[in-house]
């Protein structure tokens, strides 16, 4: 991933700026093609493209070959690729929005407790022996609950100020982390505990087209809504009073951003478990690419997040004969990438 860390020359304008805007979508497309082609039965990228063209009715393909590739690409790999795109984009766009909202480049989507809550909920679902759908629903609902509790604390005790929001999120996150520990402690150590532990490491291996069908709509809506918040978030990141003096309805923007970021982050945990570092690292890479203005940064972060997770998932599936949990892969790549961008990122800090 290091090759995309292009320092943006100050004053880049015209064709160069246009080119930097296209880098993120192009990377996402390339990563999707790679992910559709790689696997136990690897295909040349040209063959994947030929299948896609045939599916679109542009070229002819022999029926047996088409059926085989359809099974491989559409039935087996596509759900996973869609999941990687949506989960990566959701985590990255939420992370970028939170960094602007909380005026802190080190914030990640889990700040208000959504990831801790969803993890505790999923663990509880596994403990209660529910179906996969039950576990997903439990994860989603407790994720929302955790943020609800954090925001509630902020409004009850501090009038919803930024500092109280962070404190409320920390408290709520700690509460759900201890609930998670309790669930792990009482879980059956031979079946349930390993299931919980693996689930917390994150995996895209469990997704199917049905899951993705119900999750894709709210996630896409959430990603698009957050992308439209860019200009309001620019002003908000300068300070509450300044944003209000510029005509921005601060409380509405803040609550809407938290609501949509929470919705899509909780869904990522439902689909794929805990996947760390994406929401922290990808916004920084995107900032190097298109600059700090959120109107461009948020869409760029969404595309880059999709590319990053597709890339990480391709590694997770293909490096060893058994699949690695993707949460481990994102951490292992995320940390060096973060160190790599750190020297540039620090320029903006004070």
């Amino acid at each position: 991933m290091a090759e995309i860390v292009l320092p943006r020359p100050p004053g880049a304008a015209g064709p160069l700026r246009l080119a930097t805007l296209l880098v993120a979508p192009a990377l996402a497309l390339a990563a999707a093609l790679l992910a559709l082609s790689l696997g136990r039965y690897p295909l040349p990228a040209t063959e994947t493209l030929r299948f896609l063209a045939a599916a679109a009715g542009l070229v002819e393909m022999e029926p047996e070959r088409y059926a085989l590739l359809h099974n491989l690409i559409v039935e087996i790999r596509l759900p996973r690729v869609l999941a990687a795109i949506l989960v990566g984009a959701s985590l990255s766009v939420s992370g970028a929005a939170y960094q602007a909202l909380f005026r802190n480049p080190l914030v990640s989507p889990g700040l208000l407790g959504v990831l801790a809550g969803a993890s505790a909920g999923a663990a509880l679902g596994i403990l209660l022996g529910g179906s996969w759908l039950f576990v997903q629903t439990a994860a989603f609902l407790t994720g929302l609950t955790a943020v609800g509790i954090g925001v509630g604390i902020a409004h009850l005790f501090g009038g919803g100020s930024l500092v109280m929001l962070i404190l409320g999120g920390i408290l709520s996150g700690a509460l759900f982390m201890s609930l998670l520990s309790m669930v792990k402690y009482v879980a059956d150590p031979y079946n349930q505990l390993p299931a919980i532990v693996y689930w917390l490491m994150g995996s895209l291996g469990q997704v199917n087209l049905t899951d993705m069908a119900w999750a894709a709509i709210p996630m896409s809506v959430g990603i698009v809504v957050l992308c439209f918040m860019g200009r309001a978030l620019d002003a908000l990141s300068m300070g509450d009073d300044e944003a209000r003096a510029l005509g921005v309805p601060v409380k509405t923007v803040r609550l809407a951003t938290i609501a949509f970021a929470t919705l899509i982050s909780a869904l990522t945990v439902s689909i794929a478990g805990m996947i760390g570092w994406v929401g922290l690292v990808v916004p920084h890479i995107a900032r190097l690419l298109v600059g700090p203005g959120n109107a461009r940064l948020l869409p760029a972060a969404a595309f880059l997040g999709a590319a990053f997770l597709l890339f990480a998932d391709s590694l997770a599936r293909n490096v060893f004969t058994t699949e690695l949990p993707i949460g481990i892969v994102t951490e292992l790549i995320g940390i060096p990438v973060f160190l790599l961008v750190l020297s540039r990122v620090r320029r903006g800090w004070n």
Binding site: P10, R231, A235, M238, D241, L246, V248, P292
Partner: protein, 262 residues
Amino acid sequence: MLSARGIHFGYRGRTVLAGADLALAPGELVCLLGGNGAGKSTLLKIMLGLLTPQKGEVTVGGQPLDAFARREVARRAAYVPQVHAAPFPYTVRQVVTMGRLPARGLFHAPGEGDRTVVERVLDHLGIGHLAERPYTEVSGGERQLALIARALAQEAPLLIMDEPLSGLDYGHQVRLLARLEGLAAEGYGVLMTTHDPDQPLSGCHRVALLKDGRIAGDGRPAEVLTPDAIRLLYGVSVALLRDAGGQAIAFRPTEGKTACSP
């Protein structure tokens, strides 16, 4: 015309303002003086509608301020905060372009007209060459100019500035004050708070003194800014220095050292 009348305000039982009156008209440069914690910033925020007074009323053009949507207020009065650091390295141009938010709304990309306005105010304040520099990397004086440019980009006739001169070196202070006089001469109404009683002696059209939550004096600097007024505001004895023509130029403390009158 922006006008605050009988403003009362307190934070958690501590009274800050107790019946303050202040007005700002286009074309005048008004300095608001007061000690630390006197409530200068609070009064500015109330006049911008950022805080709601517990008693009293703010009107703009004769209409109550709270009858306007935030965007409408932003097109009548612009806020220039104390110079600060931004968490992200937005370019100066990006910061100034934020001033176009009230005109075009949150969900519209800046158009050709917005870009023209931004270019014009950047040139007007002489910071066009900084447009692509990160706001976080230019000097304090340049940041203050960028924030003023953002306020000008709002195209509001009134500018409310919270200590625009503090934190700037002497040269920047002198130049910025001259710039603010220029803006007032162009027809902008400028209200600024300051800590230095010498500044309004030369530059401001009007001085208002905030003491114990009320306006203790409001008028031409020569009438309002007297050694007695300074003792009332800050609790120190001063002498007023005048030039050969009798024009007041500066205050000099007379406490703690041998009084030496000019």
